[in-house]
Each structure stands twice: as structure tokens, then as C-alpha cells.
């Protein structure tokens, strides 16, 4: 997961002699900061991952906390293309056209295994990943991905926007802290069976 790189922004506190404090920054940094918190999204939802997408966008996981609140159903008004689900060969031209209609700057997030690499749809009908047709910024693997993984992906994209980094990135799996810290039900069950 991306950590925030140190920015060029500096905040100077008012000195002991009084007077107003001020901040210095770069225009690009301010623009990137504004862009990363106002991602207008275009959901290109084709398959079962759409259920998980609805879950992430609904109040329980609520990715509008990250400023990517408003879905725009016109690609001309959106910055972030969510490709959610399997893309068939028949659908690829449509997806490409949607992408081309989006205005710069634009980002693409591949949601789920099918959109990332085709998954088990290794056949005559499907495109093995949207990156065969359009450039992709963030891949969120999972079938479907956990909402936490989607949030990781969104924050990863925000980091990439802030730093201006356009190399594709993939959301890495997280270790379950319950298992890691040797507490919780899984470990309890394991220790119980080993005793018995």
C-alpha cells in the first residue's frame, strides 16, 4: 500500500513576535490534492462484481468518504473509470469508446480479477484484462474483492494522483491482523483442536 510521500507544502507558524502564519506550496500539488478528493466516477459495471461495488458505495463501507462520491453516467463528466466485471470481446470496443470520451485527466481502476486479468475466463469470448484495450492505473484483485481491498485501491490511486505517478499498481493482500497476532477465533480453534 502506498504511503504518502512528503509533499513540498510547508506551513509556517506565526512567530513569537506575532503576525500571521502562512503556507507555501506548488500549484501542481494543490491541483493534485483537489483532483484526488474529487474523483467523479463512471461505473462500467458488467458482471457480478457490481454487487460488491454497490456494497462499497453504500453507507457501510462508504467510499464517498474519499471524495469519489458522485457517479456520472456520462463519460464526459467523469475522471475515474471503474471497470467492474468481465469484459467480453464483444464489449471491448464499447469500453474503449467510453474511455476515449473521458476528458483528461482520467484514471482507470480495474475492479476484480476478471477486469484485471480475465480470471478463469480464459476462453474465446473474453478479454484477459482491460489493460489489453485501455491503460489501467490500479488493479484490485479478488473474486470479488473485499470492500477493504477496494478502499485500499482507491487510496492507492489517490496517492498516485498526489505524486503524479502513472505506473500501474496492484493492491497487495493484507494480512488478517487477527491471525497475525495469534488471537481470535481462528487461533482459538486451532489451539483447541491441537490440545484435543
Amino acid at each position: 500500500m502506498g504511503e504518502l510521500k512528503p509533499s513540498s507544502t510547508q506551513i509556517l507558524e506565526p512567530g513569537a513576535a506575532g503576525g500571521a502564519g502562512f503556507a507555501t506550496t506548488r500549484l501542481e500539488a494543490v491541483l493534485a490534492w483537489a483532483q484526488k478528493y474529487s474523483l467523479f466516477m463512471y461505473p462500467f459495471v458488467t458482471a457480478c462484481c457490481g454487487m460488491e461495488f454497490m456494497s462499497v458505495s453504500s453507507p457501510r463501507y462508504d467510499f464517498s468518504r474519499f471524495g469519489s462520491e458522485a457517479p456520472r453516467f456520462s463519460p464526459r463528466q467523469s475522471d475515474l473509470l471503474w471497470v467492474v466485471g468481465t469484459i467480453t470481446q464483444r464489449q471491448a470496443p464499447i469500453l474503449k469508446r467510453i474511455y476515449e470520451q473521458m476528458a483528461e485527466p482520467k484514471w482507470v481502476l480495474a475492479f476484480g480479477t476478471c477486469a484485471s486479468c480475465g480470471g478463469f475466463y480464459d476462453n474465446y469470448a473474453c478479454v484477459a484484462g482491460v489493460d489489453k484495450v485501455i491503460p489501467c492505473d490500479v488493479y484490485v484483485p479478488g473474486c470479488p474483492p473485499r470492500p477493504e481491498a477496494v478502499l485500499d485501491g482507491l487510496m492507492l490511486l489517490q496517492d498516485k494522483i498526489q505524486t503524479g505517478n502513472r505506473t500501474p499498481a496492484i493492491v497487495k493482500p493484507r494480512q488478517d491482523p487477527v491471525v497475525e497476532q495469534n488471537i481470535g477465533l481462528v487461533q482459538l480453534r486451532k489451539s483447541r483442536t491441537s490440545v484435543a
Partner: protein, 198 residues
């Protein structure tokens, strides 16, 4: 129950019945392709049968057999509650001359199922009102569910992006991000890249 149905068909189409099978309520009649339509009409119109529902119609490809395709239709009678599977065998080993009569004017549901069977197997249904591809795009060549269709052959509608190593774009490494089947035929895969992906 449906044993009686098989006997009834045998009695009326004795010469055309190639094979029957009945086990645990699973009843199958295999008939000559020439009798396909007449047997279907008989199943629908005879009061003892009254098969008013065509549940499924598809095909199976047996590349080693001489009538290569087996057309399979599943019938159900809503009024009598019995089922029957009707099969016929068509097509030579090349997959040509795979022709059988359409059942569209008996059951409306046959329309799309015959189109799908045509799309996937290349079986021609004679007198079908609109025999076009239904799932694949018109530009698609060949019939993907035939056993001789290469398992990894794709026919993209638009050119893939012009980037190096399109099969595995970073951040995916060589053994990552692709599924189970592809790794076994990696060599034919490379051949395909030159011919299919522009």
C-alpha cells in the same frame, strides 16, 4: 411412466428409432435426423404425450464419431408432468452437412436455442426464420464449442494496445495474473499472438 412414452414412439416410428434409454425416470429416444421433425410434432400433438414445453435444445460434439453432432432436445409436459429427451445424430467428421429441421413453428422457444446451437456448433437448422449468431459477434469465424476450435484462440474486435508484452503487462509478473489453463499451452499461445493480435 415415460417408459410408456418410449413404447409409444417405438410403435409409431419403429424404423426411425435408433436407440432408447430409460433409467431412474431419465428417458431418452435417439431418432434418425430425417424423422426429427415428425417425432417432435408427434410428441407435441398426441394427447398421451402433449409435450407443450421445449425446455432445452442444444448439441454435443463427439469428434471421434461419424455422425459427429448429437442434437439434444428436452421436452416437458406441463399437463402430464412427464419429461423426455430426444436426440438425433448429424454431420460428418469435418462438421459439414450438419443439418436438421427447425422446430421453431412447434415451440417458439426453439428459436433462440437453435440460434445458439448454430452459433456454438455450426449446426444448420433448416427453415429457421432467422438463423444468425446470437452470442458471438457477426465477425467471429468458426464455432467455439466445436472440439476442434483451439482452446486459446481469440478473435478480438478491436486491436489490442500497442505495448510490449501485452499478455503480461506490469505489475503482473510471469506466473501471476493469468489463469490455470494458459500455462499448459504456452507455446501455441505465442503463435497466436502473431496471427491474431495486430
Amino acid at each position: 411412466m415415460s417408459k410408456a412414452l418410449i413404447d409409444l414412439i417405438k410403435k409409431n416410428f419403429g424404423a426411425a428409432v435408433l436407440e432408447t434409454h430409460s433409467l431412474y425416470g431419465d428417458d431418452t429416444v435417439v431418432v434418425e435426423a430425417a424423422a426429427w421433425r415428425e417425432v417432435a410434432r408427434f410428441l407435441r400433438d398426441t394427447p398421451q404425450c402433449s409435450m407443450d414445453m421445449l425446455t432445452d435444445l442444444t448439441a454435443v460434439d463427439y469428434p471421434e464419431r461419424e455422425p459427429r453432432f448429437e442434437i439434444v432436445a428436452h421436452f416437458y409436459s406441463l399437463s402430464r408432468g412427464h419429461r423426455l429427451r430426444l436426440k438425433t445424430r448429424i454431420g460428418d467428421s469435418e462438421g459439414d452437412e450438419a443439418e436438421v429441421d427447425s422446430l421453431c413453428d412447434f415451440w417458439a422457444s426453439a428459436n433462440w436455442m437453435e440460434r445458439e446451437t448454430f452459433d456454438m456448433f455450426g449446426v444448420i437448422f433448416k427453415n429457421h426464420p432467422d438463423l444468425r449468431r446470437i452470442l458471438m459477434y457477426p465477425e467471429f469465424e468458426g464455432h467455439p464449442l466445436r472440439k476442434d476450435y483451439p482452446a486459446d484462440k481469440i478473435q478480438p474486435l478491436i486491436a489490442y494496445r500497442d505495448v510490449p508484452n501485452i499478455e503480461k503487462i506490469a505489475p503482473f509478473s510471469v506466473d501471476e495474473g493469468m489463469s490455470f489453463g494458459r500455462q499448459t499451452h504456452a507455446s501455441s499461445h505465442r503463435d497466436r499472438d502473431d496471427s491474431q493480435v495486430n
